[in-house]
């Protein structure tokens, strides 16, 4: 991590490219190591889950609150690195928000209140699990709708096929048909 140094705004000077939190390579202060690190840590998770919690956020004074915070933060999106959870992100904003969650939990706020604090500021976007409300009905019920649609099509197709099978065969017609076929075959042979 490099500490930002002062460069001037002057137009004739090419601005030095610096990212907010020393993350080089990714915009918006997403620490570049984040992705590789999380891949590595997903591997470690398989071996030992506690490693994850330890890396994501340094354990505060109160392990109970820390556990609650990490559990909650895993359900929340980091606003800077949008594909990382608030628990796993190394962005500074994520650190600040984790700190804020910790403070609020210490003050006795329950998970619902903490989530409300975040959604009033960042909207439902911060939740990985979107709430069930009129705007998200199609999101939650869409799969059921398609399942029903597919089931309907499947049923109708089956019915059609069964109807086809159930048509009684006219013995006389069948007899005539085989006679015709036999005559045709004989014709061809000649």
């Amino acid at each position: 991590m490099t500490t930002p140094t002062l460069t001037s705004f002057a137009a004739d000077e090419a601005p030095t490219l610096r990212y907010p939190q020393g993350g080089e390579g990714l915009p918006w202060g997403c620490p570049a190591g984040g992705l590789m690190k999380s891949l590595l840590f997903s591997l470690l998770i398989a071996l030992n889950t506690s490693v994850w919690a330890g890396e994501a956020a340094p354990v505060g004074e109160d392990p109970a609150i820390e556990q609650r915070m990490v559990k909650l933060a895993e359900e929340l999106r980091c606003l800077v690195c949008q594909n990382e959870s608030l628990a796993g992100s190394h962005a500074e904003l994520a650190e600040d928000l984790r700190k804020e969650i910790r403070v609020q939990m210490k003050a006795g706020k329950n998970d619902k209140e903490v989530i409300e604090y975040l959604t009033t500021r960042y909207g439902d976007f911060v939740l990985y699990r979107p709430p069930f409300k009129p705007l998200t009905y199609i999101l939650w019920l869409g799969p059921l709708l398609f399942l029903g649609l597919g089931g309907g099509i499947w049923y109708v197709t089956l019915q059609k096929r069964r109807a086809l099978k159930d048509t009684p065969v006219d013995e006389k017609q069948l007899d005539e048909a085989s006679k015709l076929l036999a005559a045709q075959l004989l014709d061809e042979k000649r």
Binding site: P4, A10, T120, R121, Y122, G123, F125
Partner: protein, 172 residues
């Protein structure tokens, strides 16, 4: 018709994906639009004995520009803001966000300040109260102190003409 159905479904899906591909994932709708701008009282950069509060701007349409000396895109935006400060269509307040290196005062003295006031949000808490995810972000706040618009990313001439000007005209 039946023959073309798979192709039609495919085309509709491609349409959705193409649209999604060109959306900007940073354009997260702000929950503050239509709501009162969160109150705060912060010391001002360069005038530590004075404080700024959004209540000071009551009766005016104004911009709250969240910026930081460490922010690259803010430098890009600085020129546009300077030009705006010259023609003065709207007062701009620059929230100095998480300036831990304490560079803002020197930087503004050197490059010029487009801001009417520069509240100093060292902890970043005020920014969080406004739902800031990165700098620069700009809020349009109306005469009654209601947030009317949020723009994520630097303001350039195109954005100013297409997004800000019509909004300001509507509010003034």
């Amino acid at each position: 018709m039946k023959r073309w159905l798979p192709l039609i479904i495919f085309a509709v899906l491609v349409g959705f994906f193409a649209k999604g591909l060109f959306l900007n994932p940073r354009e997260v709708p702000s929950p503050f639009i239509g709501k009162a701008a969160p109150a705060f009282t912060l010391p001002m950069v360069g005038q530590a004995d004075k404080t700024f509060s959004p209540a000071d701007m009551k009766g005016k349409v104004w911009l709250l520009n969240v910026w930081a000396p460490w922010c690259v895109s803010c430098r890009q935006e600085h020129g546009v803001l300077m030009a705006l400060a010259q023609s003065q269509p709207v007062p701009i307040v620059g929230l100095n966000w998480k300036d831990k290196a304490r560079e803002a005062e020197q930087l503004l003295a050197q490059a010029g300040s487009p801001y009417l006031a520069v509240p100093d949000d060292l902890s970043g808490k005020t920014g969080i109260d406004y739902g800031v995810t990165g700098t620069p972000e700009t809020y349009v706040i109306d005469k009654a102190g209601i947030v009317r618009m949020k723009h994520v990313g630097p303001i350039d001439e195109k954005v100013w003409k297409e997004k800000f000007e019509p909004k300001l005209k509507e509010l003034n």
